[in-house]
Amino acid sequence: MKTRMFVIADTSSLTPQTVINYIVSLGKTLNIKDTCYGIMVEGDDDVVENITLKVREKFNADIFSKHRAYPIGDERRCRATRGGGARPGYYFLQEEYKLLPLISNVLKKGRFKTIDKKKKKPVDVDILKKAIKEKV
C-alpha cells in the first residue's frame, strides 16, 4: 500500500476535481481524497506509481507529487481526530507551495539556463588594516 500527494501549482487553472475525474477514468482500484492543495491517492504500489506517471504525462508541470508516509485519514495526522489545527507537514507544504508557480512556469517553457554565480570574496586584509588605522 502506498500513498501519494498531488499538489496543484497555484497559477494553474487545474482543479482537484479534474484530476480526480481523470484518475477515475483510468479505472483502477484506488482510494482518492480531495484536499485544499490537490489530492491524495492510495492504493497498491505499482498502481499508484502507474497513476503518477499518467497524471504527470497528462498535466505535466501543473501538478507536483510526493510520496506520503501516513495513510489517508490516519488518526495520528488527520485534523478531524486531532481537534483541528494544521497538520504537522503543512509547514513544509506551505513553504514549497510558494515556489511551485515559478517551477511550473520554467518547466512549461523548457527554459533551463544556468547562471554563473560569483562567490562573494572576503574583504582583503590590507583594506581592513587601512580602514582600522584610519578610524581607530
Binding site: 500527494m5 510526493k66 515559478l102 517551477i103 527554459r111 539556463k113
Partner: protein, 144 residues
C-alpha cells in the same frame, strides 16, 4: 539511480528527481515503514528507543538522542544513496529540518559516502529557479 535528496522531505526535489528519471530517497519511505509497523509502542511517535540505538551507527553516544533518532531515519537512506542533491540556505520552515546539528551531520555523512553530489542554494526568484532546475537536470542526466 537512487538519489538522496536534502532536505529529505522536499516535494520539489522529489518531484524533479522523478521527472528526470531517477528514484528519490525521501524521508517518507522511512517514516512509512515505521508508522505502518504493528509493533510500534506509542502510535503518535515515529521514533522509538530502538531507533536511538540504530542512530549510534551514525553519531557518537554523546550526541543528543533527538539527533540520533533523526539520523536513524536519514542514515539508512544515505547508506542506500548512489548520488545526492543538497539544497543549502533553505527557509527555516522548509520541512521538519529544524535540528541544525542533525542537518550538519547529515551533510557530513553524505560527503563521507563520496557519491556524486550536487550542492545548490534555495532559489528565490525566477532566474534562480531556472538555474536551480537546469543544474538538477544536467546533474541527473549526467548520472545515466
Amino acid at each position: 539511480m537512487k538519489v538522496f535528496i536534502y532536505p529529505p522531505n522536499s516535494m520539489i526535489l522529489q518531484d524533479l528527481v522523478e521527472r528526470f528519471g531517477h528514484t528519490p530517497l525521501a524521508l517518507a519511505k522511512e517514516i512509512e515503514r515505521r508508522v505502518n509497523d504493528p509493533e510500534l509502542d506509542s502510535p503518535p511517535m515515529n521514533i522509538t528507543d530502538i531507533d536511538v540505538k540504530i542512530g549510534l551507527k551514525y553519531a557518537a553516544i554523546e550526541v543528543p538522542s533527538g539527533v540520533r533518532g533523526r539520523l536513524a531515519m536519514f542514515g539508512p537512506l544515505i547508506d542506500e544513496a548512489e548520488a545526492a542533491i543538497i539544497v543549502n540556505d533553505f527557509p527555516s520552515t522548509f520541512g521538519c529540518m529544524a535540528c541544525a546539528r542533525t542537518n550538519e551531520l547529515t551533510i557530513y555523512l553524505i560527503k563521507q559516502r563520496r557519491v556524486p553530489t550536487l550542492e545548490l542554494d534555495y532559489p528565490t526568484n525566477e532566474e534562480e529557479v531556472e538555474d536551480f532546475i537546469a543544474r538538477i537536470k544536467n546533474f541527473l542526466e549526467g548520472l545515466k
